[in-house]
C-alpha cells in the first residue's frame, strides 16, 4: 500500500522535473505526467479497495508531530472514495486534454498536476489552515490554467473568478484564525471534540465565516455570477475539473465541517442550497448557450446535494449512515459523472447555441452518451439519480419534511424543462457541419457513460434489495442487448423484439389475475400486434427498437409490480422509452417536450404521493397498503391521481397528447395511443380499487373524477371535430375515449368498472385499427391534412374497410362492439343516479359521430385528387394487424359475453352488487337487456337482403367517374375545388362559440410564460460586471448572516 503522501511528493517533485525533462522531449514529460496521474489513481484506488475490505484507515502525520501541533492528513473510506473519483476524473480529463497538452507549454502540465494535488489535499487534510493552503493552491493553479489561454472571454471570467476566490479566502482566513483563537487548535478533529468552545459569539461568527467562505466556493445563488462565466468560457477539460472535481472537493470540505455546525448554520446551509437549486434551474430556462446552461445546472446540482446532505443530517441521520450515503452519494455520483461528461461533450461540439448541437447525431455513440447524461440528470431510471431521488423522497417524507420535497421536486422539474428541450433540439434540429472526432476526447466520455450505467445497475440492486426481481431485469437486459445490436437491419431487430415480447408475455401471463389479464392482453399481445407494422421500414432504424423494448418492459413491469417502487420504476422506464419513440416523428420536437414535461410533472406528483404513503403507512412500500391509508388520505390519492391522469390525458392535462400522438411515426401512433394511454388507466384502477370512500373536504374524489371524466369526454370529442389533421383528430378522440374510461372508473360500481375495462380493450382495438389505417394512408399520400386527401376508397379499399369498421365500433352504433359500452353507460348512470354527468358523457358521445364521419369522408370519399391517382394500397405489414383487430372486434360484437363475463366475474370480488345477469347471450341489468349476437344477426340479415336486392336491381348500372356529378348544369373544374373537406364543421364552431376555445392550452402557455419570463427577469442580476459580483457576494454574506443569526 503506497502512502498517499506520495501524491504530494510526486507532484512537488515533478513540478520541477517536468520542465527539465521537457527540454529533453515533450513525449517524455507527457509520459511522466500521465504516469503521475495514473499513479494517483492507483494509490487512491488501492486504498479504497483495501479500506472497503475492512482495512483500518490511515492518519498521516507530518513533521513528526502529532496533532494538534502538526498538520495531519486522513485516508478513510470516504476520503479514499473521493480521491479515487477525483483522481480518475483527473486522469480522464488529462486524456481528454491530451492534444492541448501536447501543443502547449509544459507549465500547463504542472498546473494541472497542482490542481489535482490541491484537490487531493482538500479532501485528505484535517487541518483548517492547511485546508486554506490547499484551497489556495488549487485556486491559484486553476487561475493560472485559465490565464494561459489568450481568449479574452476566459481571461475576463478568470479575473472575476480570482476576485471572488480572493474574497472567499479573506473570509476563510479570518474565520480560521478566530476559530483558532476560540478553540486553540487548527485541527478539525480537535475542534469537533471541543465543539463546546465554539459557542462563544466569536466562535460562532468565525465558524460562520469559514462556512460562508466554503459556500462561496460552492457558488450559491445569487453570489455565483463569476462561476457561470467561468463555466461558459473556459476550456471544457478544465471546466470538467472545476465543475466536478473542485466542487466535489469543496462538497467534501463542507461535509468535513458539518459536525461543527449548529442547528442554525445547518438550516442556513440547507436553505442556501435549496434556493440555489431552485433559482439556478429557474434562471437556466431561458439560457441558449450550452456551457452556461451546464453551468446553471451544475450550480443547481451542487446546491441540491448540499441541501440533501444537510437536511438528512438535520433529520437525525448519522453522517455516514448507509441511507445518507445512498441518497447524497447517489445524487453526487450522478452529477459528478454526468456533468463532467457533458462538459467534455461541449468541448467536442464547440457550438454556442443549443440547437447547433444537432450535429451530435452524426455520432451515435456520443448521442447515446449525451442522452444518458441528460436522463441521468433528470433522474430517470436506470440511473443512480433516480434511485437516490426515490430514496430521498421516501426518507424525507417519513420524517415529515414535505416542504423540502416539494421545492426539490419543483426545482428538478424546472431542470427537466431545459434539459429536455436541449435533448429535443439535439434530436430534431437541422445541422450544418460535422465536428472533428478524436479518440482521446471520446474515450473519457464513454468511460463515464459506462460508469454511470454500471452505477445505475448497482444502485438498482441496492434499492431493490430484498425483492426477487429477475423478471424485471430480464427485459432491461434485452434492451441493453438491442442497444448493442442496433447496427442490424430492421427486420432482424423487429423479429427479435416481437419474439422477445411474445416470450416475455408467455413468462408473465401466469402471474396475472383478474383485470390484469386484460391489461396483459393490451400491453403485451397488443404490443406484439403493433410491432408487426415495423416491417414496413427499411434500413436500420437506429435507436428505435431499444426504446420500444424499454417501453414494453416498463408496461410489463407495471403489470407485475407489487411495491410502489417497482410501479414507479416501471412507470419511468416506460415514460423514457415512449418519449424517444414519440420524438422520432418529423415535427415532434415541441410535442414530445410537452409530453415529457407533463409526464415528469405527473411522475413527481406520484413520487410525492408515494412518499406520503410511505410515511403514513409505517414505511411500507407494498402497493396493497394503498388500500388502508390512515392519514392524509385525500392528498395521497389526489397526488397519485394527478400522476396517473397525466398519462391518461384528462382534460386540463391533455394538451400534450394531440401533438405527441398526431406527429408520431406511422407505427408509433397506435402504440402510444392504443397501448400507452392504458398505462394511466392501469394506474387509476390500482388507485381506485384502493379508494372506496375517500373524502377530500366535502367533495368525494370519485365524484370529482366523474365530472372530470364527463367533461373530458365532451371537450375531447368537441375538439376532435375541428381538427384538419387526421392523426390529431384521432388523438383528440383518444382524449375523449379515455374520458369515458375515467368516468366508468369513477362510478365505483360493478357495471361502471365493467364498462371501463371493456371499453379500454375496445379502445385498444379500434384506435389501433384507425391509427394503423390512417397511418397507412398518410404514409402513401404524404400529408396528414384531410382536406388534401379524398376519394381514396378506390385506391385503398382495404384501409377503407378498416376505417369503416373502426368508426362504427368507435361511435358505438350497434351492432358492433362499441355499443356495449354505450348501453352499459346508460344503465350505470341510472343505477348510480349521476344523471347530469351521464348526460354530459352521452352528449359528448353524440359528438363523436361528427368526427367519425369526417374522418372517413374527407379521406376516403369525395373527390380523388390529381396527384393521388396512382396511390397504392397500404403495405401488407400494416394491413395484417388491422385485420386481426377487425376479427377481434367482430368476435366481440357477436359474443360480447366472451370478454364481459370473465371480467364481470372478477369484478364481483370487488363489487359484488349489480353484476350483469347472463341468459343465453343476453345481458340483463335491473333496468334493461341486450343481446349482441341477436342484434348482429338481425341487422346483418336485413342488410344482406337489401344489399343483394339493390345489387340485383342495378346490375346494369353504368359505372361513372368522379366528375360525373350533377353540378347545376356545369361541370366541376378540379377535384380539390370540388372536395368539401376544410373546416367541415364550421357551423358547429359558430354555434358553440366560446365552448370551442382552447382555454386549457392558453392556461398552460401562460404558466410557461410566467416561469420563463421570471427566470429571464431574475437572471438580469448577472450583469457581467466583476464588481457587481463582489457586491453580490458581500450582500449575500450579510443577508445570510442576518437570516441565520437574526441580526
Amino acid at each position: 500500500m503506497v502512502d498517499p503522501i506520495y501524491i504530494f511528493v510526486i507532484v512537488l517533485g515533478l513540478a520541477f522535473l517536468l520542465s527539465l525533462f521537457d527540454k529533453l522531449s515533450r513525449n517524455l514529460s507527457l509520459f511522466l505526467f500521465f504516469l503521475a496521474l495514473a499513479s494517483f489513481v492507483y494509490i487512491s484506488g488501492s486504498w479504497f479497495i483495501s479500506l472497503l475490505s475492512g482495512k483500518e484507515e490511515l492518519i498521516i502525520f507530518t513533521a513528526g508531530f502529532k496533532p494538534p501541533v502538526s498538520i495531519n492528513l486522513k485516508m478513510g473510506l470516504i476520503e479514499a472514495f473521493f480521491t479515487s473519483l477525483t483522481n480518475f476524473l483527473g486522469l480522464l480529463s488529462a486524456i481528454y486534454l491530451f492534444r492541448k497538452f501536447r501543443a502547449e507549454a509544459v507549465y500547463s502540465l504542472i498546473l494541472y498536476l497542482m490542481i489535482i494535488m490541491g484537490i487531493n489535499g482538500l479532501i485528505m487534510t484535517r487541518d483548517l489552515f492547511n485546508l486554506f493552503v490547499f484551497l489556495e493552491i488549487t485556486s491559484i493553479a486553476t487561475y493560472s490554467m485559465i490565464g494561459i489561454s489568450s481568449d479574452l472571454k476566459s481571461l475576463t471570467a478568470g479575473f472575476k473568478y480570482m476576485i471572488a476566490g480572493g474574497i472567499a479566502s479573506v473570509f476563510l482566513l479570518i474565520g480560521t484564525i478566530y476559530l483558532y483563537r476560540s478553540s486553540g487548535t487548527l485541527n478539525i478533529d480537535s475542534m469537533i471534540s471541543s465543539v463546546g468552545l465554539l459557542t462563544t459569539k466569536t466562535g460562532i461568527i468565525a465558524l460562520f465565516l469559514v462556512i460562508i467562505a466554503i459556500m462561496i466556493e460552492l457558488k450559491p445563488f445569487p453570489a455565483n455570477g463569476w462561476a457561470l462565466d467561468v463555466y461558459q468560457s473556459v476550456n471544457s477539460g478544465v471546466v470538467a475539473i472545476i465543475a466536478s472535481g473542485i466542487s466535489a472537493a469543496m462538497l467534501f470540505v463542507l461535509f468535513k465541517l458539518t459536525p461543527l455546525m449548529n442547528e442554525n448554520l445547518l438550516t442556513a446551509v440547507a436553505g442556501i442550497g435549496l434556493a440555489t437549486f431552485f433559482f439556478s434551474n429557474l434562471l437556466a430556462l431561458k439560457q441558449e448557450n450550452p456551457k452556461r446552461l451546464l453551468g446553471y445546472s451544475s450550480i443547481g446540482q451542487i446546491g441540491l446535494i448540499m441541501t440533501v446532505y444537510v437536511v438528512l443530517i438535520k433529520a437525525g441521520f448519522i453522517r455516514d449512515s448507509q441511507i445518507v450515503w445512498l441518497i447524497s452519494g447517489g445524487l453526487f455520483l450522478n452529477h459528478f459523472l454526468a456533468k463532467a461528461g457533458l462538459f467534455w461533450l461541449a468541448g467536442i461540439i464547440k457550438k454556442e447555441k443549443l440547437s447547433d448541437w444537432a450535429s451530435l447525431r452524426t455520432s451515435p455513440i456520443l448521442l447515446f452518451a449525451f442522452g444518458t447524461f441528460i436522463f441521468a440528470l433528470i433522474g430517470l431510471p436506470p440511473f443512480p439519480g433516480f434511485f437516490a431521488k426515490w430514496q430521498l423522497v421516501m426518507t424525507l417524507a417519513a420524517k415529515g419534511m414535505i416542504f423540502w420535497i416539494v421545492i426539490i421536486l419543483l426545482g428538478s422539474f424546472l431542470e427537466a424543462i431545459y434539459l429536455l428541450r436541449w435533448l429535443g433540439k439535439v434530436l430534431k434540429r437541422e445541422f450544418q457541419e460535422k465536428f472533428a472526432i478524436h479518440f482521446s476526447r471520446i474515450l473519457p466520455i464513454i468511460i463515464f457513460m459506462l460508469l454511470i450505467l454500471v452505477l445505475g445497475a448497482y444502485y438498482s440492486t441496492l434499492i431493490f434489495a430484498g425483492n426477487n426481481l429477475n423478471i424485471l431485469y430480464l427485459p432491461m437486459l434485452f434492451v441493453f442487448l438491442l442497444f448493442i445490436l442496433d447496427f442490424l437491419p430492421v427486420w432482424i431487430k423487429n423479429t427479435l423484439t416481437i419474439a422477445a415480447t411474445a416470450c416475455y408475455s408467455y413468462l408473465i401471463f401466469p402471474q396475472l389475475a383478474g383485470y390484469k389479464n386484460i391489461f396483459g392482453v393490451i400491453f403485451l399481445i397488443g404490443g406484439v400486434l403493433l410491432l408487426i407494422p415495423g416491417y414496413i421500414k427499411k434500413g436500420k432504424r437506429m435507436g428505435f427498437y431499444p426504446f420500444v423494448a424499454m417501453m414494453y418492459a416498463g408496461l410489463a413491469g407495471l403489470l407485475i409490480s407489487k411495491t410502489t417502487l417497482q410501479l414507479f420504476t416501471s412507470w419511468e422506464i416506460m415514460t423514457l422509452g415512449s418519449y424517444i419513440l414519440i420524438i422520432r416523428g418529423k415535427k415532434s420536437e415541441p410535442h414530445a417536450l410537452s409530453y415529457m414535461l407533463f409526464s415528469v410533472g405527473g411522475a413527481f406528483a406520484m413520487l410525492l404521493g408515494f412518499g406520503l404513503l410511505f410515511s403514513v403507512n409505517g414505511n411500507s412500500l407494498a402497493l396493497d397498503s394503498l388500500a388502508n391509508v390512515s392519514q392524509a388520505v385525500g392528498t395521497i390519492y389526489l397526488l397519485l391521481g394527478l400522476g396517473f391522469l397525466t398519462k391518461m390525458a384528462s382534460i386540463g392535462l391533455h394538451i400534450w397528447l394531440p401533438g405527441a400522438h398526431g406527429e408520431a411515426e406511422t407505427d408509433v401512433s397506435p402504440m402510444v395511443s392504443a397501448i400507452l394511454l392504458k398505462a394511466g388507466m392501469f394506474g387509476m384502477i390500482i388507485l381506485m380499487s384502493a379508494i372506496h370512500s375517500a373524502k377530500i373536504g366535502f367533495v368525494s374524489l370519485p365524484y370529482s373524477l366523474g365530472w372530470l371524466g364527463a367533461i373530458t369526454v365532451f371537450l375531447g370529442n368537441l375538439m376532435a371535430i375541428y381538427q384538419e389533421d387526421a392523426k390529431r383528430l384521432l388523438a383528440y378522440s383518444s382524449v375523449g375515449n379515455l374520458g369515458y374510461v375515467l368516468f366508468g372508473l369513477a362510478l365505483m360500481t360493478h357495471l361502471g368498472w365493467l364498462t371501463s375495462i371493456t371499453y379500454a380493450l375496445n379502445h385498444f382495438l379500434f384506435k389501433a385499427l384507425l391509427f394503423l389505417a390512417i397511418g397507412g394512408v398518410v404514409m402513401r399520400v404524404k400529408t396528414k391534412n384531410m382536406y388534401e386527401m379524398g376519394g381514396l376508397i378506390k385506391k385503398m379499399p382495404l384501409s377503407f374497410i378498416s376505417v369503416l369498421i373502426g368508426i362504427i365500433a368507435l361511435s358505438g352504433v350497434p351492432p358492433l362492439s362499441g355499443f356495449a359500452g354505450k348501453w352499459m353507460i346508460y344503465n350505470v348512470v341510472l343505477e348510480k343516479g349521476w344523471y347530469f354527468q351521464g348526460l354530459v358523457v352521452i352528449i359528448g358521445g353524440l359528438i363523436a359521430f361528427l368526427y367519425c364521419f369526417r374522418l372517413i369522408y374527407a379521406v376516403f370519399l369525395g373527390q380523388l385528387k390529381d396527384n393521388h391517382r396512382q396511390v397504392k394500397e397500404a403495405p401488407i405489414a400494416l394491413l395484417i394487424p388491422q385485420y386481426i383487430m377487425i376479427f377481434a372486434i367482430m368476435l366481440f360484437s357477436v359474443y360480447p359475453g366472451f370478454i364481459l363475463q370473465p371480467v364481470g366475474d372478477f369484478l364481483k370480488e370487488l363489487f359484488p352488487q349489480g353484476a350483469l345477469i347472463w341468459n343465453e347471450g343476453s345481458a340483463f341489468t335491473q333496468f334493461g337487456y341486450w343481446n349482441g349476437g341477436l342484434i348482429f344477426m338481425i341487422t346483418g340479415g336485413i342488410f344482406a337482403i337489401f344489399f343483394l336486392l339493390l345489387f340485383f336491381l342495378n346490375r346494369k348500372a353504368q359505372k361513372v367517374k368522379q366528375f360525373n356529378i350533377v353540378y347545376a348544369a356545369e361541370r366541376p373544374s378540379r377535384p380539390e375545388l370540388t372536395h368539401v373537406g376544410y373546416n367541415f364543421f364550421a357551423h358547429y364552431k359558430k354555434a358553440l362559440g366560446s365552448l370551442s376555445q382552447p382555454y386549457v392550452t392558453k392556461f398552460w402557455d401562460t404558466m410557461s410564460d410566467l416561469f420563463h419570463s421570471s427566470g429571464d427577469f431574475v437572471r438580469r442580476l448577472y450583469t457581467g460586471n466583476g464588481q457587481t459580483y463582489i457586491l453580490h457576494i458581500l450582500l449575500f454574506v450579510l443577508a445570510v448572516y442576518y437570516i441565520t443569526f437574526g441580526g
Binding site: 376519394g791 348501453w823 344503465n827 341510472l830 341486450w930 338481425i938 336485413i942 345489387f951 346494369k956 368539401v980
Partner: protein, 306 residues
Amino acid sequence: MIDFQPVKILYALFSIFIIFNIGLLIQGIVRKIGARVGKRYGIRFYQPYIDLIKNYSLRTSITHGIMFYLGPVFRLTGGLGVFLFIPIIFGSVYFQNFSFSGDIILVLYFIFFGALGMALGAGEGGHPYSAIGVSRGLAQVTAAEIPLVIAIMGIAIQYQTFSVSEIVAAQQGGIANWTMITNPLLTILGMVAYLGSMMRSPFDVVLAPQEIPIGPPTEYHSTFLGILQTNRSIFPMAKTVLFVNIFFGGATNWFILIIKIFLIYMWSVFVAVVFPRFRVDQSIRWFYKYALPLGAVVIFITTLLF
C-alpha cells in the same frame, strides 16, 4: 323474454308491411291536408305509392362506387332495424317484433346506423352538396338527439327500466297513467326532440332543396331513391311508434296506434307550417340553449318526483 322462434320473422314481416303502408298513406294524407289548408286540391292521397313505383321502375341508373350502393342499404337497414327493435302493439303476441334483443338504448343508437350509412353513401357520390348536407345533417342530428337522450333518460328514471314493453305496461289503465299526464314537462321535451328528428321546418336546412339540391341524396336516383323513399315511409313511423310507446301509453291495437301516430305526426306538421327554417348553426344553438336547460330541469324534476 328470449324466445326467438322463426315464426317471429313472419310476424315481423307482417308488421313491416302494415307500417309501410301506414307510412305512405300518412305521407299522402298529410300532403293532401297541407294542400287543402292552402286552398289547393292537392295530390291524390295514393300519390306516394305511384312515385315509389315509378322510381323503382326507372330503366337506367348510374353508380359511383360500392359505398354508393351501401348508402341506401344502410339507411333502410337503419330504419327497419329501429322499427324491428320496438314492440308495436302492447299485449299482442304477434306484434312485438324483435324487441327481445335489446331495449330503448338499442333503438336510440340504431337511429344513427342509417344516418351514418347514408352519409357514407352520399360521400361516395363525390358531390360537394352531399358533403355539405351531411355536415349539416350530422351536426343537427347530434344536437337534436340531446333532448331525445335526456327524455329517454327521464323516462328511465321515471319507470326505472329501459325496456319499452315495461314502460308501456306501466302506462296502462287509462289516460291518467300516460307519461304525458304524469310527467308533462318530460313529454314536452320529448316532443321537441321529435321535431328535431323529423327533418321538417324549422329543422330542415339539411335538405334545403333550393340551396343544396336536397342535400345528402342529391346524387341518388331510380332504385336508390326508391329505397330511400321506402325508408322515408318506415323510419319516421318507427320513431313515432317509439314516442307513442314511451309518452302516450302505447297502443293495444292497430287502430289506436294509427290514430296516435297520426296525431303525433301532425304535431311536427303544425310546427313546420308555422316556423320558418333555421340556419344550421341556429338550430344547433337552439338545442343547446333551450332544449338542454329544459332537459336539465326535467331531469331535476323527474328525480324529485319519482
